[in-house]
């Protein structure tokens, strides 16, 4: 099978996902459009060679509904022949979109394809598209549905992460993100978001709280204790009777932030790159998705990592950099514990606890972050993964060219 190469990656800064956030007055369509425009313009692309645009979006209703990928491609004035498709694998939608774009290149369906995602969480609230899993008793009961946060707290309880452990992780994430911004480590990928007049409305991640420390985090109340007490703790204990009680450790300060943003990553074959005089930046080594126990929901990353490593013929130690979306602090702590990954190899530039997690867009963003970081440090390989709703995990292994 042919190789798929990453030629470019862009992302918007992440705006606070509420009415006071800078990006609240920018449409989802505009966010997606601006990333596609940037990919085109930075690479002087003849878009008639782009076969497909695949965008992740977790709440595809309202302005994000009805295949925002094709609509954004049209709005960005890509060639009419460029198709578009929106995909939803919950939090890994953006990475899944990239994996699909890469796969299309690998099998020869596409010569050039864009993966990425968009989520304006301030405009289309999380959960606004409903769904059967959380509501329909016929599936919710037998699969131990509980809100993600309860699952994250269950991970902390089951594998022994205290409130201090998760808070300390969060403080470190803020520190790393602040340092990364200070040193301009994201500069290659960030495209400032423009407003209706073309003026810059946001050029940095505005969710960060670099001043967060153990003391300030200690003051925050656990977010999921109430829901747990109303019944979800018992739901989870049905699947994990070994837990006498759930230790609710997660709160707004050690969970991913709600933000607005979009991402786009350009994939293509070797020949296409040569033809258009594009420099390949990274090669896809392996891709994988997996399902794991849905009630605890967020243990997929270690399993999918093992799966992807196996496909690549690699071992945990062969990867130079790991990037695991910081949905909740315990998710990352568990992956480090399960695979024995040192903290200095994972989420080196902070993550969603500091900068936010624009659901469908995140996968494309952190893939781009890893391309930049491999180039900055001269390291070879990176594995990007996210925990996913309903117990899934998705991962991609890349190597620098």
């Amino acid at each position: 099978m042919a190789d798929a190469y990453i030629y470019d990656a862009v992302r918007t800064p992440r705006g606070k996902g509420k009415a006071s956030g800078s990006l609240h007055e920018i449409t989802s369509l505009s966010l997606a459009t601006q990333t596609l425009e940037a990919i085109r313009d930075r690479n002087e692309l003849d878009t008639s060679y782009v076969d497909d645009v695949i965008l992740g979006c977790v709440t595809p209703i309202g302005e994000q509904g009805s295949d925002i990928a094709r609509v954004a491609a049209l709005n960005a004035e890509y060639a009419e022949t460029t198709a578009g498709v929106q995909v939803d694998r919950f939090c890994a939608s953006g990475l899944e979109a990239c994996n699909m774009a890469a796969a299309k290149v690998m099998v020869g369906e596409a010569d050039m394809a864009i993966g990425g995602g968009v989520e304006a969480m301030s405009r289309v609230p999380m959960g606004a598209n409903g769904g059967a899993w959380s509501t329909d008793p016929s599936v919710a009961i037998k699969t131990y549905f509980a809100p993600q946060g309860v699952g994250a707290d269950t991970i902390a309880t089951k594998w022994g992460f205290s409130r201090d452990d998760v808070d300390a992780y969060a403080v470190e994430s803020q520190k790393r993100a602040a340092k990364a911004w200070e040193e301009g480590r994201f500069a290659k990928s960030i495209i400032p978001v423009k407003d209706q007049m073309g003026g810059i409305i946001l050029d940095h991640d505005e969710h960060m709280r670099p001043s967060a420390d153990m003391q300030s985090l200690a003051a925050l109340q656990p977010s999921f204790a109430g829901m747990g007490a109303m019944g979800f703790d018992e739901v989870i204990k049905q699947r994990y009777p070994e837990l006498e009680a759930i230790n609710h450790v997660h709160h707004a300060g050690n969970s991913s932030g709600i933000v607005d943003g979009a991402s786009a990553v350009l994939f293509g074959s070797k020949e296409m790159g040569e033809k258009h005089d594009l420099k390949p930046r990274a090669r896809i080594r392996a891709m994988a998705s997996i399902g794991s126990e849905p009630g605890i929901m967020l243990t997929g990353p270690s399993y999918v990592t093992e799966k992807a490593l196996k496909k690549a013929g690699m071992e945990v130690g062969d990867i130079d950099l790991y990037e695991l979306n910081e949905a909740f602090a315990a998710v990352v702590l568990r992956m480090m514990q399960a695979l024995d990954i040192p903290h200095d190899k994972i989420n080196v530039n902070g993550g969603a606890i500091a900068m936010g997690h624009p659901l469908g867009a995140t996968g494309g963003m952190i893939l781009g972050t890893m391309v930049d970081e491999l180039e900055r440090t001269g390291k070879e390989t990176a594995l990007i993964t996210l925990c996913v709703g309903a117990g899934m995990g998705t991962a991609t292994i890349i190597e620098r060219i």
């Binding site: 509501t135 329909d136 037998k142 549905f145 018992e234």
Partner: protein, 745 residues
Amino acid sequence: MNLETFKWDVDADGIAHAIFDVPGRSMNTLTAKAIADIVAITNEVATNDEIKGLVISSGKPSGFCAGADLGEMNQSAGGSGKPAAEMSEAELKAAQFERGFILNKTLRELETCGKPVACALNGLALGGGLEVALACHYRVAANDNPKLQFGLPEAKIGLLPGAGGTQRLPRLIGVQAALPLILQGESFKADQALSMGVVGELVPSSETVAKAKEWVKANPNAKAPWDEKGFKMPGGQIHRSPGAGQVQSMANAMLIAKTYGNYPAQTNILSCVYEGQQVPIDAALRIETRYFIKTQQRPEAKAMIRSLFLSMQELSKGANRPAGHPKTEFSKIAVIGAGLMGAGIAYVQAKAGIPTVLVDVSKENAEKGKDYSRRIVEKDISRGKTTQEKGDALLERITTTDSYEDVKGADLVIEAVFENEELKAKITEMAEAVLADDAVMGSNTSTLPITGLAKASKRPENFIGIHFFSPVERMGLVEIISGKETSEATLAKAIDYVLAIRKTPISVNDFRGFYTSRCFGTYTQEGMHMLSEGIKPAIIENVGRQSGMPMGPLEVSDSVGLDTALKIGRASAAATGADIQKDTRMQFLAWLVEDQGRVGRKAGKGFYDYNEKGKPSGLWPDLNSRLDVKVDECPPELKKELTNRLLVRQAVEVARCFAEGVITDARDGDIGSILAWGFAPYTGGCCSYIDLIWGVDKFVEEADRLAAKYGERFAVPDMLREMAAKGESFYSRFPPAGSEAKAAA
């Protein structure tokens, strides 16, 4: 019109009045005849131009209608036309649906007959009764009948409302308000019905029919709200309205927290409401019928109807009372021993209106026992559960004394002192010295053999065990134990007594531990076995609760007292000659009790720590480190294994009790297991658990497997193998005295 279960007239204004009045019954139920009559009434109202509308009311002072006829329902499992055996699966399902849909179809036709229909409710309307009322366009209820109650209690006996209740109630008052009413089956009063919007208005009972007629006249074009264009679910519809998803999600979780998914009726109710609200009412009613049938076919439903409804009713009416003995009216009963049990017994007697003498070694002690009643009365008055007047009268019925002279003239004496044979013997002698020859001497013992205690009696034929459970005022069961010489007349009297204090009697024979004490311990013992195998305590406790038991086995052990458990364990080791040094479970128990002073709830510490109120605050944090925990994860396969061990172990002991003749009526076995030690109610009790949830042959197979793996304690009696070979069940081999429950089996 020729109606059998309704009276019928049409007034000068053309308003028809159908009065529900099933002949020969004190209470209306929805018999097949009644349903046929509703069909006829609907046709008449729809087609007769003279009739402008319809009012439905009841001719019974007891109320409107108590719902479906469960006896009839349990017998109509057959079906009409082609025999089920000859039908294809599709034909069978279609026939089942058709039969199950009859009442829904009937009521829907009534609801859409084209003329206004109102219901006048002067008394209770439960289950199908309320569903008939909900199918009317308007409901008027009486505001002057304190006995009036509405409700959909089907879920309590393992069913779901199958005549539109799961669809019309949420459409009327919203999902959030309707779900708890349907899931829990609790009844509600007229004023609650009004505030929730279940009824349109409350008026004096003499005016309900007139008001209903008035409404019918004023609303000639009445329709159900859900038949109006643009109808919206009050409080929002799932997947349409913000927040509705969360309500549903939360409702699912809350149900699991309460039932652990053990009750198919409740989970099916959730599905029924979830799916039904997304489609028009006609489709919704079809969905309801499908779930109704699905639920009804579950063994849990069959078991719960039989045990929790039919058997409970029969036993509570004295079904196991020997015939041919005149009923005893109690003019005076003495309770000897004013400790916790005696005090509780005195209270329930006084509450039932029976003059009670409470005897202890000193008047002061007896008064302390009476304080128990004073506290309950005080609490009930403050909560509006009783009046000062009634409370005073109750307390007046309890006379305290230290003199056996006051026992004179009692029809019955209940001895409720410590489990000490000598003391009990002495009391028997002292009491009998003043008692009449026909008075009955009852001992509230939980373990001491009655035949032995009766040796102290001059009249052993009048001596009987009357075993109460603690707390007496809350526990509904009394275990009656006949000794070798106890006469039938005495048994009849004892049962009369239990019925008089409004509790449910089961009748057992005199073997060590009787029925309940003997079987009760097996649950905690199995928990202790798991502990010694190195299974993490949290797993044992969670799986215990999740299996449907009210508490985990270790918490039960704490309640009984770990010192007691240790004593029993040592005694049985001594009896069997087992080497106690090799029994890690006993070693650990001994360490807990003798080294750590963790003797259980009474000490505020056992396996659990307890707060000042005696409530467990959590397992002792040191427990895991003090135990050699080998199993600290519990995937579904292990959970299933542990669940089966906990439940099968209890049921094996029950089967042995039947094999040995401790107990002889399957109803006693079932009801005793649920009421005495809380055996998972969704199973219908231990006998039904074997009969229906497993099937006798499959149960034997599982018990054999467990016996091979874990030991002889799972060995089934030969009787059970014989039953399996012959295709017998407990209900066929140990049939109830009456035949009604037998037919239901």
